[in-house]
């Protein structure tokens, strides 16, 4: 390898025995100077952990030497124990004694050495930070300890919190009267009269004119034994509600077909379950709300019965006990009853022997509540502030009436205000009329397949008006047979029907009228369909009549008829359709095709054979086709010659 090459100089340097202290930027290494003998000793001495000893009373040097010894001894002991199982029971005692002797000897030696001061002097030594490194185990332990204390603190805090929470709950359980009163005050009107606290649950401030006082009294609940455990629902505050407002009440509105025996009246007593208490609301609050509701129901009922007595109608309204009976339509009765259950004894009569299907009209009940509130609002809003401010108080409309020159009709329309009863009767009438109209249409639609009847109810309804579009069509021919389309505006007393041809028909509340009308329209539809079909097929309409004066008399409406002739005029189809008698289809053949026609002596000319001949009835039931119009189309197609 080295052949031919210059010799490489290898410099050899002794490995540094000293520690490098630092390497400066120019590469110079400074070394830690070697320790002197005593320094070295001191350093070594520092390595000894003096803190490890447990007996603090001993002198330091003693202790550490002894310690070293003892550990060594222990090690030795361990070894002997391992290899030589104890020979006799005093072995350990002997060993201990021996080690104690050794220790004592060592102690003696050390003391003598120290005393001589020839070889050794005791000096305090400086703690070298490097050497005094606490072992990791120790760090861990200390950390653990501090963590434990921190955890303890936290735990203590948490405990305190839970305790205070519990205390709080405890406090809430035994709320004091005053805070309870404060809550009550924030929701109800209260005032102090003498030494009593009275509250107001009437709707007077909302505009009610009901004479009932509607006062309740706030009482401090003291009859509780404070030593005993307080029940959960204990409340230091109770309210005393007038006895006639106790319990729960509601207004029942129902429409019945036939009137029950007059003896039954006024005993209506149906109860609903009291509403479940909402969590977090107080007992007194529930009671007050219930009482207020009773009061409102009473007001509604009082108002209604007052009006029932005042208003004259053909069949007088009957007011018996807690029931008002009115007759919106003949044979129909609207009963409005106040159902009031007085608190505790609700279970007694809760289940009447015969439980009728619930015909309660919730909509009307709701509307009654709404109406009375509107009524309240009216009394409030009738007094508005004048503008300009100098003008006197008064109703705004009246102020406008003079300068705007309102006419008599307008002014009298303000003065005419309907009462609660009138309104609710009107609403009941409308609801009844509407539901019955729907039923009539639906039953017709399900009963009669051909033609089809469709109802499209309007998506917006009024309390007194709603409308429905009724379409009569034939399946598969919706595009050409749409002459019968009706809009039914259902009002309070009557139904106004607007026909697609511009006619307006007013039907009364009688169910039969609507049904008959729709039936007659359906019958007319068929004939109209033939007319439209003839147009499409190229046939000519010879005659058309919605109301035929001939033939059997229909019990409902009139029969309608149409005659159409084929494009070349050879054939004619005559259709007569009655709502009751059904349809009858006749076909007329040309004279030339009639076989049974006798040859006449008079009419011999060939041209007469082009005259139309006799009619023959078509066995309509045996015609093929899924509905009337389809059959008719087939018939027309069959009679149209191919050219």
């Amino acid at each position: 390898m080295m052949s031919g090459g210059p010799a490489v100089r290898v410099s050899i340097e002794s490995s540094s025995e000293r520690q490098v202290q630092e390497v400066s930027l120019d590469g110079m290494e400074t070394y830690v100077p070697p320790l002197s003998m005593s320094q070295n000793l001191a350093k070594l001495a520092q390595r000894i952990d003096f803190g490890q000893s447990s007996d603090s009373d001993e002198e330091r040097t003693d202790r550490d030497t002894r310690d070293e010894w003892s550990t060594r001894e222990a090690e030795e002991d361990d070894g002997t124990v391992k290899f030589q199982p104890s020979l006799w029971p005093w072995d350990s005692v002997r060993n201990n004694l021996r080690s104690a002797l050794t220790e004592m000897c060592v102690l003696h030696d050390v003391l003598s050495v120290v005393k001589e001061k020839k070889y050794m002097a005791l000096d305090p030594v400086s703690q070298d930070p490097n050497a005094a490194k606490t072992p990791q185990v120790f760090q861990l332990i200390s950390k653990k300890r501090s963590l434990a204390t921190a955890a303890q603190l936290l735990l203590k805090g948490a405990e305190k919190l839970t305790k205070s929470l519990a205390e709080n709950q405890e406090q809430r359980r035994q709320r004091d009267f005053n805070s309870e009163l404060l809550r009550l005050r924030s929701q109800w009107k209260l005032r102090k009269v003498g030494d009593k606290i009275l509250g107001d649950l009437s709707y007077r401030s909302a505009g009610s004119l009901f004479p009932h006082q509607g006062t309740f009294e706030v009482i401090k609940n003291t009859d509780i034994d404070l030593d005993k455990k307080v029940p959960d629902d204990y409340c230091p505050l109770t309210v005393q509600i007038p006895s006639d407002l106790e319990g729960s009440a509601y207004i029942k509105v129902s429409i019945q077909k036939q009137s029950p025996d007059i003896g039954d009246l006024g005993t209506l007593n149906l109860f609903r379950r009291p509403p479940k208490a909402k969590p977090g609301s107080q007992m007194w609050h529930l009671r007050l709300e219930a009482a207020q509701n009773v009061l409102l129901c009473k007001e509604i009922f009082a108002q209604l019965s007052r009006e029932a007595v005042q208003i004259k109608s053909q069949i007088p309204h009957i007011v018996v006990k807690n029931q008002i009976i009115s007759h919106p339509f003949p044979g129909l009765q609207l009963s409005i009853s106040l159902c009031h259950s007085a608190g505790e004894k609700k279970s007694q009569r809760a289940s009447p022997d015969r439980i009728k299907p619930d015909d309660h009209l919730y909509v009307l009940e709701h509307n009654l509540h709404q109406l009375i509130r509107e009524f309240h609002k009216q009394t409030l809003s009738s007094v508005t502030m004048p503008h300009p401010a100098s003008a006197p108080f008064g109703h705004k409309r009246l102020r406008l009436a003079g300068p705007m020159g309102y006419d008599k009709a307008e002014i009298s329309s303000w003065q005419h205000t309907e009462g609660l009863l009138e309104k609710i009767i009107k609403q009941a009438k409308h609801i009844f009329l509407r539901s019955r109209t729907a039923r009539t249409i639906d039953s017709l639609a399900s009963r009669i397949e051909d033609p089809q009847i469709q109802a499209h109810w309007s998506n917006i309804n009024d309390l007194y008006e709603s409308s429905v579009k009724v379409l009569i069509t034939s399946q598969g021919y919706e595009q050409i047979c749409k002459s019968i389309q009706l809009q039914l505006n259902i009002g309070v007393e009557q139904i106004r029907v607007v026909h697609r041809d511009g006619r307006v028909i007013t039907l009364s509340h009688q169910e039969q009228e609507l049904q008959d009308f729709l039936l007659s329209q359906m019958s007319q539809h068929q004939v109209h369909a033939v007319q439209q079909l003839a147009k499409v097929m190229g046939w000519h309409v010879l005659s058309f009549s919605n109301h035929v004066g001939l033939g059997p008399i229909e019990s409902v409406g009139n029969a309608s008829a149409i005659t159409v002739a084929s494009p070349n005029g050879e054939h004619a189809i005559s259709v007569r359709n009655g709502p009751e008698s059904g349809c009858k289809v006749l076909v007329q053949f040309p004279r030339s095709q009639a076989k049974e026609l006798p040859k006449s002596d008079v009419v011999q000319d060939g041209k007469w054979s082009h005259l139309r001949g006799s009619y023959k009835e078509v066995h309509w039931g045996r015609m093929e086709g899924r509905n009337f119009v389809y059959k008719m189309e087939l018939l027309m197609a069959a009679l149209t010659p191919c050219s």
């Binding site: 309007s458 917006i460 598969g476 021919y477 919706e478 595009q479 389309q485 009706l486 511009g502």
Partner: protein, 311 residues
């Protein structure tokens, strides 16, 4: 050329295949023959059965053999060429006896006619599907496949679209102002003020007109609480009559597929009332009949008539 060559090569296979078919047929016939004849007269019952069984087995095996043979040959024959426009029938042109039987020319003629028929039928069906002869919106002509494309549902249209349609219609008629309200959720209520003659309230459901009420120009439109009164009828008989006619118009203008056209035609029709009090009846020439001006407007010509004069 190649085709012809191919055919020529395969002719051998064809003839073999035909032979195989004949063999198969005869063997099958034999099976049924033997089955038909039943068991031959033999001494013992067992012997009879045995002979019959062996015969039947032999016959079936020959059928099987022939069938296999045919299958083998059929692979040789291969698929006939697809290149001819008339497919297999095109081979007829190769028939040497063409001069005697004009089969091929007749076939071509038939094809031509059939094509023409299809074309004309297509034309006719598209013509027939136009409005005048259409019987139903649902099924006629248009195949079921195309139906969903017609229009999703015109019942749910975005309110923005409704607003656009209405404002476009509003711009069409300068003497008619249309205001749009939405007092009850999404369904719009239009307040149409026509000149100084009348005000109409049109209640819509999407773009379909649900109902309409016509009142006098100076009549009160709002209820006491300031809401638009969309229910109470006019105090005047003229406008009650016009309300009825407008309802009729709603029934008349119906085109479920194109609701915006319906609204537009209704508005056009409504606009003809601008001269409600100024136009005499087109039939009797008078202004008044039974105390009412001509309230009817023809749906097509928009001419004014008294209600009783219109037919």
């Amino acid at each position: 050329m190649a085709d012809v060559m191919n055919v020529g090569v395969n002719l051998e296979a064809f003839s073999q295949a035909i032979n195989a078919i004949q063999a198969l047929r005869s063997s099958v016939t034999r099976v049924f023959d033997s089955l038909k004849d039943g068991m031959k007269n033999k001494e013992t019952l067992e012997g009879r059965e045995k002979v019959f069984m062996t015969d039947f087995q032999d016959n079936l095996q020959s059928v099987n053999r022939d069938l296999n043979e045919l299958e083998r040959l059929s692979t040789l024959v291969g698929r006939p060429s697809e290149s001819h426009p008339l497919h297999n029938s095109g081979l007829l042109s190769l028939d040497p006896v063409q001069d005697k039987t004009p089969l091929y020319s007749q076939l071509l003629q038939a094809y031509k006619w059939s094509n023409k028929l299809q074309y004309h039928a297509g034309l006719a069906s598209s013509l027939l599907n136009q409005q005048s002869l259409k019987r139903s919106a649902n099924q006629m002509g248009t195949s079921a496949k195309r139906r969903p494309k017609v229009q999703p549902s015109t019942l749910v249209l975005p309110t923005q679209y409704v607003d656009d349609v209405i404002s476009r219609i509003g711009r069409m008629f300068p003497d008619m102002s249309i205001e749009l309200f939405r007092p009850n959720g999404t369904s719009a209520v239009l307040l149409v003020t026509l000149g100084k003659v009348l005000k109409a309230i049109v209640v819509m459901r999407s773009l379909f007109i649900d109902r309409t009420i016509v009142r006098g120009f100076h009549e009160n439109l709002y209820m006491e609480d300031g809401k638009l009164d969309i229910w109470s009828k006019s105090n005047y008989q003229v406008f009650q009559k016009v309300t009825d006619h407008a309802t009729t118009a709603l029934l008349h203008y119906q085109l479920p597929q194109m609701p915006d056209v319906v609204v537009r035609s209704f508005m056009t029709w409504l606009r003809s009332y601008i001269k409600l009090f100024q136009t005499p009846c087109q039939r009797c020439g008078k202004y008044l009949q039974d105390g009412l001006p001509p309230t009817w407007r023809d749906f097509r010509t928009l001419e004014a008539f008294h209600d009783t004069c219109r037919q």
